[in-house]
Amino acid sequence: MAALTGLEYKKLIRQKLHYTGLGVVLFFTCLSSLGFIMHRMRNAKKKIEGEAAAELLNGIAFSMTCLVPAIYVLFPMIISIFTATSMAGELQNGQMRTMLLRPVSRWNVFFSRFFMMSFYSFFLVIALLFVSYSCGSVMFGATGDVVIFGEIFLRNGSRYILPEKVVFTKLLLMYSFACFSTIYLVAMNMMISALTKKVSHTIVISLGIYYTSYILSSLSFMKHIHAFLPTRYLDIWRFAVVRDIPWDQLFHDCTIDICYIVSFLVIGGIAFNMTEV
């Protein structure tokens, strides 16, 4: 399994997908930093809870803020497209058949793809952390107190300041939890790839499910179905920025996410095993 995952990762490198993903992360960070600079300039004289707003918008705040749109929009899109290309694309173009003519178990092939795409999504998240924090440190300073805006991070109107001594840990936790969320996305895309066997269908269906769930979860009058939406428990990364991390709730949401991941993988694996190539 490890050897097969390694081979799959080499294939990914040869396809230069790393560069594409990294390019998108760089582009996104550049645009975000431009927005952050302008925001900082316009609010230079403002004070939040007695502290200068400009001081609170440092490298850590920048890196934390960058993760939010990336994990909501950018990474799901990249992961969906790359997983669909890797799995459904090879099924569609015949390379999967060439592989399955070898004495290799379909479960191994399926799980090696899953691990490979998971590692790739970690690479993207870590690349964003590295690029955004480096960029933010140079432009806004390496560290300091960080202001947390509830409407950005927590889907509520709260606003508070995290002290400098905890912010770096919170940043690392936030990105670690985001890595976990990407596993969920990879598993969902793997399942849909195995079921549809077509690149375009996989992308449309997985992103359709993902974005529809998020849109519905933002509509309060649909609150009765919120608990059943597949993305309901996905944004566990936001627990990291809460002053006192609610470990019970985090554990609860993670458990549900793991159940989803296992279900996706079992259904996807069975579908892939039954696929006629």
């Binding site: 050897a3 097969l4 081979l7 080499k10 294939k11 040869r14 396809q15 230069k16 173009n93 015949g94 390379q95 058949r97 060439t98 592989m99 399955l100 003519l101 070898r102 004495p103 290799v104 178990s105 039954m274 006629e276 190539v277």
Partner: protein, 310 residues
């Protein structure tokens, strides 16, 4: 037997693609699997390779049960199914290396040898996306050979190739069997290819086996004698008396052309009889039916094109 398959049946919805087909392929032979487009050839190959689940089948490949020991079988079996599909962003060598790693045996010497046999040594380090279709077919055969496979399935291997490419692939297939002792199971709808390349042939039509045997014997069974004579009625009377079977009769005005049952050893006594009965003879010769005639006869295909669906 390299392949012993019995009662292969496969349906897609209400359409029965393969119906109770038996197949026997001898070790070390080149076995042709012939049938018109849509006859079920690729379906059978996919079943034999474990890529498709049959409705029912008993398949033994290289002495092992396909459904119990597929991995063991696949470690000695290679194939190209439908078309050669590779990782286009890798070189020819890297593709073979990657695929042989999947077989658990990445021997560089073996890969080099396979590349050499199929004549791709000069382009081994070029990306597959720069390859022509013919080169991909060759690479497909190379990947089917490694790691030291004993049985190779080639599904329509000369499809899309130019005449030079076809000739090269034919020679390569013969070479694999004769020089390397590899059993080759080759499906095709090209009769000339099977006639010139294969030792044995199985002909299928609409999912049913219509004929099986050694190509040379099959051709011999379908030998006939061609007679050109202006004395049409006299000849027919003589044949009626002698109980000789007339296959076809064509009248071209000045004389008639008869194809009668028999091989070349009946020509001398037949000439004697014709002369004794004062039947004028414009010509007499052995008529060798080509596989195409046999195929048409067995599958009900009309020479003017299209299958006889009646």
């Amino acid at each position: 037997m390299a392949i012993k398959a019995q009662h292969i049946t496969k349906s897609f919805g209400t359409f029965k693609a393969v119906d109770d087909l038996d197949l026997y392929v001898r070790e070390g032979s080149v076995h042709g699997f012939l049938g018109p487009n849509g006859a079920g050839k690729t379906t059978v190959i996919r079943i034999l390779l474990g890529l498709l689940s049959p409705d029912s089948a008993e398949v033994e490949i290289l002495g092992k049960d396909l459904f119990m020991s597929r991995d063991q079988i696949m470690s000695q079996t290679g194939a190209i199914v439908e078309y050669p599909a590779f990782f286009e962003y890798m070189t020819a060598y890297e593709n073979l290396y990657y695929l042989s790693r999947l077989s658990g045996c990445a021997d560089k010497t073996m890969i080099e040898k396979a590349i050499d046999i199929v004549g791709l040594s000069k382009v081994r380090n070029k990306l597959v996306k720069t390859f022509s279709y013919g080169m991909k077919q060759r690479l497909g055969i190379a990947q089917a050979m490694i790691p030291e496979n004993k049985l190779i399935f080639l599904d329509e291997p000369v499809n899309g190739l130019d005449p030079h490419g076809i000739l090269d692939i034919r020679n390569l297939i013969r070479q694999l069997s004769e020089n390397h002792g590899i059993t080759v199971f080759l499906s095709s709808h090209l009769l000339s290819e099977v006639e010139q390349t294969c030792d044995y042939v199985t002909i299928i039509h609409k999912g049913h086996k219509v004929c099986e045997g050694k190509v040379s014997e099959l051709m011999k069974q379908h030998e006939s004698i061609e007679i050109l004579t202006p004395d049409r009625e006299l000849l027919k009377n003589l044949f009626a008396r002698e109980n000789l079977k007339i296959f076809t009769e064509e009248d071209s005005g000045e004389y008639s052309r008869f194809l009668i049952e028999g091989s070349e050893n009946i020509v001398p006594p037949l000439v004697e009889k014709l002369v004794n009965n004062k039947i004028r003879l414009y010509g007499i010769a052995k008529h060798q039916k080509v596989l195409e005639d046999i195929f048409v006869e067995l599958t009900g295909y009309k020479k003017d094109g299209g299958p006889d669906r009646a």
